[in-house]
């Protein structure tokens, strides 16, 4: 049995977290993500989970890293300035392979920017915010129901690949209210489980892997005692900085994700079957793009929308295929031009790529998007 609710995007994320079995949230208030923290402060104790408002954004990341090591599914939520603060520990979570989900409800930046206005300006930061060669996953919902679904998916991916997953929302999606159908009872929802060791503790090597390239992760206190470090380490988990160890560790962290792009990368195609032109848009910007595509179709233009749901890793295969199919691609994003750089790189000049960048605090209307499409595709 299910119920129909009118929920805010942030609230749908909270429902997704509860449904996913999240039992620990460490966070800090920051507009426009604060509703996630406030709602979990209320709901987590009811399901026996723990909520803590830490002293700052960095401490929040630290707390969820610690909690994840005890076997819990964990979450934090923030926006641009907080996301900037978290970067060092995001790199730590990549290096030590710690499952966790970071909700970033993007707002206008840089710096304090416009706390209550939407933006998609953290796209590149989500990929490269922390130093060094590292790889992670970022997902972007474009509706309130998708906030719920992608939160569940974020945990499925994070636990499966032992990697931080960023739920990259924007203020449009975070704060809008929309109809969502939720199960009455979350008990039926399959829970993501991280891999546990099959060997006894004496034989256990913390970062040894099978062909999946993902190490087993026994919780602290379970009888397997292991060492977690941000130093480059070998399969024992202890620091090892030789060229061979560094090469092996780096390659494995890359390959564990990039050998599985078919599993990780999701793109939605709307009206693409016979499309001769495509608009690429995601998150809050995709909503206007759907309608602009309908407007274009009504005028006989064969336009479709390619909507990346997985922002990182980049949908390389899909964008290359797109360049072989359509005559022109328009990328629409709520920033000065970030995702377009990847599209241009993948397309490699095969077809023209036009950018409709909207960075004046407001999302574009369907009419605006349509006007830009008409101009680009004529």
């Amino acid at each position: 049995m299910s119920k129909i609710l009118l929920l805010q995007g942030n609230q749908a994320v909270v429902e997704g977290a509860i449904a996913a079995g999240v039992k620990f949230f460490g966070g800090y208030p920051i507009t426009p993500s604060t509703e996630v923290a406030e709602s979990l402060a209320e709901k987590l104790p009811k399901v026996g989970g723990k909520f803590i408002q830490m002293e700052d954004e960095i401490a929040s990341m630290g707390a969820i890293i610690g909690a994840s090591l005890t076997g819990k599914k964990v979450m934090t939520a923030t926006s641009g300035p907080g996301f900037s603060l978290k970067q060092e520990l995001i790199g730590y979570a990549c290096m030590a392979e710690i499952p966790l989900v970071i909700v970033n409800v993007q707002r206008v930046g840089p710096s304090t920017g416009q706390p209550t206005s939407p933006s998609q300006g953290d796209i590149m930061q989500a990929r490269w915010g922390t130093h060094g060669d590292h790889w992670l996953i970022a997902l972007t919902p474009a509706s309130v129901p998708e906030c719920f679904d992608l939160t569940l998916r974020a945990y499925a991916l994070s636990e499966k690949y032992r990697v931080p997953v960023i739920l990259l929302m924007d203020e449009v999606i975070g704060h809008m209210r929309e109809k969502i159908e939720l199960p009455d009872n979350y008990d039926e929802i399959p829970q993501a489980e991280r891999k546990l060791p099959t060997c006894p503790p004496e034989e256990f090597k913390a970062y040894a892997t099978d062909e999946s390239l993902v190490p087993a992760m026994p919780p602290f206190g379970s009888g397997y005692r292991w060492h977690v470090t941000g130093l480059v380490h070998d399969e024992t988990g202890f620091p090892k900085g030789t060229p061979a160890a560094t090469l092996a560790a780096t390659n494995r962290q890359h390959d564990k994700l990039y050998n599985n792009l078919d599993d990780i990368v999701e793109v939605e195609n709307y009206e693409m079957d016979d499309a001769e032109y495509a608009i690429v848009a995601f998150g809050g910007a995709a909503r206007a793009a759907y309608e602009a595509v309908d407007m274009a179709r009504a005028k006989g233009m064969k336009v479709g929308l390619v909507r990346p749901i997985t922002i990182w890793p980049f949908a390389e295969k899909q964008m290359k295929a797109l360049a072989g199919k359509v005559k022109h691609i328009m990328v629409h994003e709520l920033n000065y031009g970030q995702y377009v750089l990847e599209v241009e790189r993948a397309v490699a000049g095969k077809v023209p790529v036009t950018l409709f960048a909207k960075y004046d605090n407001e999302p574009a209307s369907p009419a605006e998007v349509f006007a830009k499409m008409e101009e680009a595709f004529k």
């Binding site: 104790p45 890293i65 292991w226 470090t229």
Partner: protein, 275 residues
């Protein structure tokens, strides 16, 4: 249990020798942590050691517990996450003077304020040893350091006063000269249900000692002997006599302050009861 037996039981096989310099006091402090664990007979599976970054923070890798070598200054929030998520674990935090009071200062005062049950062993060698001897917030005023070639012009913290004011409910200090006391204070800190901080005054002959002409490792341990006084004796001194000296032993203990994870379990019970 003698030291050899303790090493066999509590240090990870194949990870020694450690990286600390000859004459470094960190081995003594780490040995005292192990003695405390042995004295209390804590099950190894139940002990989590969380360290930051620095010479002292390397201790976690050598110890056969659930260990985390986290980021610079961030041992306390990581330890908070570990302890709050699983209050059954005995959480020991290994940190240094720079790690805990400079970059980690904010986290130190909040962990103390929460009175979360963990035992912080702060290895104070008054210097940033790992990076080559720069000064820290616990480097004495006028001391020389790699980033204070003319001597520091900053006063240092009194860490015991700082964490006491922030809300710590067990505060103690000892030196590597007073190793048996240090081990005993750490054991007391572990047994204390609340935020415990034990400052372990330890020598860095290579950086701090050399730059401040303090002699060799043995001289620096004798310095500890000559400048530390048990609290009761210290308090009897006049202000002039106190200059240059510091108290050791249990410096502060508060009973009956609600511990954080216990308070949160009560919160959960209330939230679920009111459903």
């Amino acid at each position: 249990m003698n030291m050899e037996e303790m090493i066999d039981k509590y240090f990870r096989p194949g990870r020694l020798p450690h990286i600390w310099c000859p004459g470094c006091g960190n081995g003594i402090v780490t040995g005292c942590i192990v003695k405390a664990v042995a004295k209390l007979d804590l099950p190894k599976d139940n002990v989590a050691v969380v360290s930051g970054i620095g010479c002292s923070s390397r201790a976690s890798g050598y110890l056969d517990f659930n260990t985390v070598h986290s980021a610079h200054g961030r041992a306390l929030p990581v330890a908070t996450g570990v302890k709050l998520a699983d209050p059954n674990l005995n959480v020991i935090v290994v940190t240094g003077d720079g790690d805990a009071t400079a970059i980690g200062g904010n986290h130190l005062i909040h962990a103390a304020r929460r009175n979360i049950d963990m035992t912080v062993v702060l290895y104070n060698n008054s210097i940033y040893g790992m990076t080559g001897g720069q000064y820290s917030p616990l480097t004495p005023e006028h001391a020389k350091a790699a980033t204070a070639p003319y001597g520091t012009i900053e006063r240092s913290f009194d860490i015991a006063e700082l964490v006491k004011a922030a809300g710590a409910t067990f505060v103690a200090r000892a030196t590597t000269f007073h190793a048996p006391m240090l081990a005993d204070l750490i054991a007391q800190g572990i047994e204390h249900k609340g935020f415990s901080l034990i400052e372990a005054v330890t020598a860095c002959p290579i950086s701090f000692g050399r730059q401040n002409k303090m002699g060799g490792p043995a001289d620096m341990i004798k310095w500890q002997r000559d400048h530390a006084l048990p609290l009761a004796a210290f308090e009897k001194l006049s202000e002039e006599q106190k200059a240059g000296k510091f108290p050791i032993g249990v410096l502060y203990k508060a009973e009956g302050v609600k511990e954080y994870t216990e308070a949160y379990d009560e919160l959960i019970a209330a939230a679920q009861g009111g459903k």
